[in-house]
């Protein structure tokens, strides 16, 4: 029988984190890195992985210092009540914007890629209804769904990669010289914005086996690095950095080129299908995270009553957020990446530093 009913293991949480990175990676990793690092873009994930590894280490110190506590509880304990409320409120606003952003982007992408002339509301509303239905089952069910989705998505990307190998042109990926060092470092900035694990910390009190965070975290980073590299390699290798950097759905376009034995094609339908699943898991998990923040911030007895109203609110925000897909793309590059860096790196580092200064945690905890 399952011990710790109602909780998920750190391994499951990190699996969710891995899925959370897939949607943005497939969407913009190739184009954003190709824009700056050009043919050396496929090296960017390696540089990014170094930053992510350091951040993982820092977060591990925090998690080990506060076992079975959520990120909100940690913030309240480390900072004062006023600052705690402010920081948590910032996270609330930011993650809500992020969900609305992904919700809108997912609907726009469906309309752009396979459903032209279909009303965008259909996709937004159906997704929100689905989330409202599933989120009530709690994190255990979400985590299990995440694990199965992770397997499905990994298999699909792996198979697509195998099919793409014959069309990869080495000329598109080389030459690499010392001149590429700076662009690669610069491009790694956008990749670092994928460190969504901090948003999962808002339900860290529901994690078990927290001592294994660093161990499984490293494996997750390896997966993220692999997926990023593979996607960028396949995209740029197939079409070249010049085309990819100008394409809004770069990997999709690269997959469209795939043919098996020159006869079977249309693999983008499979990619779109898995993309919807990863989008769904991402919006679901972030919504769960926000509901946990709301619960802590307003000292609620349960967040169940807030699910529907929050989802309705999300629907409006997703519409208010942007007028069209071009605005969304610019927002992604100019605001979301920087915002994520602040919320995922700078703010947590400040919190950890304060905790160390105030001796709330200690580096040797783990």
């Amino acid at each position: 029988m399952v011990k710790n009913k109602g909780k998920i293991s750190v391994r499951q949480a990190l699996t969710l984190f891995a899925i959370l990175t897939i949607t943005p990676t497939v969407r913009f990793a190739a184009s954003s890195t190709a824009l700056i690092a050009k043919q050396a873009a496929w090296l960017v994930p390696t540089v990014t992985a170094v930053f992510l590894f350091l951040m993982l280490y820092i977060l591990n110190i925090l998690l080990q210092g506060y076992k079975n506590k959520s990120f909100t509880e940690m913030i309240y304990d480390i900072t004062s009540k006023f600052w705690g409320n402010l920081i948590i409120f910032l996270y609330l606003v930011w993650i809500t914007i992020l969900i609305a952003f992904y919700l809108r982007f997912y609907s726009e992408r469906l309309v752009t890629s396979i459903y032209p002339n279909v009303k965008i509301d259909i996709f937004t509303i159906s997704m929100l209804i689905l989330i409202g239905f599933i989120i009530r089952n709690g994190i255990v069910v979400i985590a299990r769904m995440g694990e199965i989705s992770f397997i499905l998505i990994s298999i699909v990307i792996l198979v697509l990669m195998i099919f793409m190998i014959p069309t990869i042109k080495i000329n598109n990926l080389l030459p690499i010289s010392y001149l590429d060092i700076m662009p690669t470092l610069k491009a790694s900035f956008s990749g670092a914005a994928l460190f969504y694990v901090i948003y999962l910390f808002f339900f860290a009190h529901e994690f078990t086996h927290q001592e294994e965070f660093f161990k499984y975290g490293k494996l997750t980073l390896l997966f993220i690095w692999l997926i990023n590299t593979v996607i960028i390699l396949a995209s740029i290798g197939n079409l070249g950095h010049a085309i990819i950097s100008r394409s809004p759905l770069s990997f999709l376009i690269a997959v469209k080129q795939v043919t098996l034995l020159g006869v079977v094609s249309g693999f983008e339908s499979i990619l779109v299908a898995t993309w919807i699943i990863s989008d769904f898991i991402m919006i679901l998990v972030l919504t769960y995270s926000v509901l946990n923040i709301i619960k802590s911030l307003f000292k609620l007895s349960s967040y169940n009553s807030f699910i529907n109203i929050f989802l309705v609110f999300l629907f409006f925000i997703s519409w208010i957020l942007a007028n069209n897909v071009f605005e969304l793309q610019t927002l992604s590059v100019d605001v979301v990446v920087s915002g994520n860096i602040i919320m995922q790196f700078i703010l947590p580092i400040i919190i950890v530093v304060i905790a160390l200064i105030r001796k709330k945690i200690n580096i040797k905890t783990n």
């Binding site: 029988m1 399952v2 396979i114 094609s265 339908s269 779109v272 699943i277 769904f280």
Partner: protein
């Protein structure tokens, strides 16, 4: 004294009381009580045994349940012929002699409780009633006709053992004992069913099975409020957690080797008296993709075959819906040649593609159902007439397009490769749901269906174990035997180590 003429409402009430396990009847231990209770039952034999001129006793047994030869040779004959009995003048002395072992029999029980006597009488026990002393001796004389051990009919095995469970509980438990000669094999028994009073056995290996799980199952079985246990679902529906699902949550087997192997994995087996199929719990999705033959063949071959089974299950589930989605909404996604071919085959067919798919899918299930119900002598005709003649005629008459036939037939054949038929049927139901969803909004609808299916599985638990284990469980144990069949020597180590860890 109750006489036969008085049998009426009073006896009906007593009978109703006696079938209720919790309510005991208060009748004196005398033959009239039994005659009253079994007044209209002609299979109940009442024999007056005259030991000598001064001493008479009554013997009651149910013809067919008790072994008449044993009754005659070991009870009637000694009582009426042995000198030590014929010389007895009173019942008190007779009791002493029987207690002293003169009426030698393996299992003799003394009682003055009519309830107990009736209960055992219906299990084949002979009841010797001593009227004045108001007690009875119960002789274990059961010996009814039963089917001998035969080759399994539903689970064929190439290299495994060829014995199968039968309807008799004791024969089945004996088969288990023969395969696992360890005192750690525990076979508990309890009676379920107010009227049928069926023996239900719970088997597990002490030290390997999770104690909490055993306790939980025992409690669930005890709580069952039913009149009969003539079918497995009576037990199954009471012990499972998720009621609203077409997916099976209990694994059935008629093979003792599979049953024992499950016990060694720490699972619990249930054997019901009168049913040759045994139940194994807890189960997860992987169990429905495994067969006993998996452990009789080369592990590399088996691992590949298992992988193919999962792939084919996915084909059975998704391909028709995918076909509907692509042909109805996203023709631009398939190569031009294929798209033109699909359009040309659809020409003249009056139904939309999803209706064709659903109709044909139901037609396939009709064939299966007809094949299962029809007399075996003409069974072959069903597939011949159904699949070949009607199918061919339907295409020629432009009722159904050949493309749909190919897709639905491929899905149906893929579905047959799922070893567990209950699971295969549930997959078929979801196949129809996915077709309906993709007929509404294409690929997106299909993906929504897949998400709903994953959610459905994710929320299911069997006795507290996740249905998706080991693919999705908190600790992911036993995952090495999920798709890749590991070498036996490793599997054994894992199983025992892991189970002992769980018990910690």
């Amino acid at each position: 004294m109750i006489t036969l003429s008085k049998v009426g409402d009073e006896m009906k009430k007593i009978r109703t009381d006696i079938i209720n396990l919790n309510k005991k009847v208060d009748l004196p231990m005398e033959v009239e009580s039994f005659k009253g209770l079994f007044a209209n039952s002609h299979d109940c034999v009442f024999t007056e045994v005259m030991i000598n001129k001064e001493l008479t006793v009554h013997l009651v047994f149910v013809d067919g349940l008790a072994n008449c030869t044993n009754v005659m040779d070991f009870i009637l004959k000694p009582l009426t012929t042995l000198e030590k009995f014929t010389n007895i003048k009173d019942e008190k002395k007779l009791i002493d002699v029987i207690k002293g072992g003169s009426l030698y029999y393996i299992s003799v029980k003394e009682t003055n409780d009519v309830n107990l006597a009736v209960e055992l009488l219906l299990m084949g026990t002979a009841v010797l009633i001593l009227k004045e002393a108001k007690i009875a001796f119960l002789f274990e004389t059961r010996g009814f006709e039963s089917r001998s051990i035969q080759v399994p009919t539903e689970e064929t095995s190439l290299k495994g053992s060829k014995d199968a469970f039968v309807e008799t509980l004791r024969t089945n438990t004996a088969m288990l004992r023969r395969k696992m000669r360890t005192p750690d094999l525990v076979i508990e028994e309890l009676i379920v069913g107010k009227v049928s009073k069926t023996k239900v056995s719970v088997s597990y290996i002490d030290g390997i099975a999770n104690d909490q799980l055993v306790k939980s199952l025992r409690e669930r079985l005890k709580k069952i409020e039913t009149d009969q246990v003539l079918f497995t679902t009576v037990i199954e529906e009471e012990i499972i957690d998720s009621q609203y699902t077409p997916f099976p949550q209990v694994e059935y087997t008629e093979k003792p080797d599979k049953f024992c192997s499950a016990l060694l994995e720490g699972r619990i087996g249930i054997i019901i008296d009168g049913i040759p199929f045994t139940m194994i719990i807890p189960t997860s999705i992987v169990n429905f993709f495994q067969t006993t033959d998996d452990y009789s063949h080369n592990y590399i071959v088996v691992s590949i075959i298992r992988g193919i089974r999962y792939l084919l299950a996915a084909v059975a589930l998704i391909v028709p819906a995918f076909y509907v989605a692509i042909t109805s909404f996203h023709l631009e996604m398939i190569p031009e040649g294929l798209a033109l071919s699909v359009i040309s085959t659809e020409k003249g067919v009056p139904f939309p593609i999803f209706i064709e798919c659903i109709l044909l899918s139901i037609a396939f299930q009709t064939l299966i159902e007809a094949g299962a119900r029809i007399w075996s002598s003409i069974g072959g005709m069903v597939s011949l007439v159904g699949a070949l003649i009607v199918g061919e005629a339907a295409i020629t008459a432009n009722f159904i397009s050949p493309g749909v036939v190919v897709v639905v037939a491929a899905a149906a054949i893929a579905n047959y490769t799922i070893p567990n038929k209950d699971f295969a049927f549930a997959i078929w139901i979801w196949e129809i749901i996915l077709i309906l969803l993709s007929s509404v909004i294409g690929l997106y609808g299909m993906v929504i269906g897949i998400i709903l299916l994953i959610h459905h599985w994710a929320q299911m638990e069997v006795m507290g174990e996740p249905y998706l284990a080991p693919f999705a469980a908190t600790d992911g144990r036993n995952s090495k035997d999920a798709i890749i069949r590991s070498l036996f020597v490793f599997k054994k180590k894992e199983s025992l180590d892991e189970q002992s860890k769980i018990n910690e």
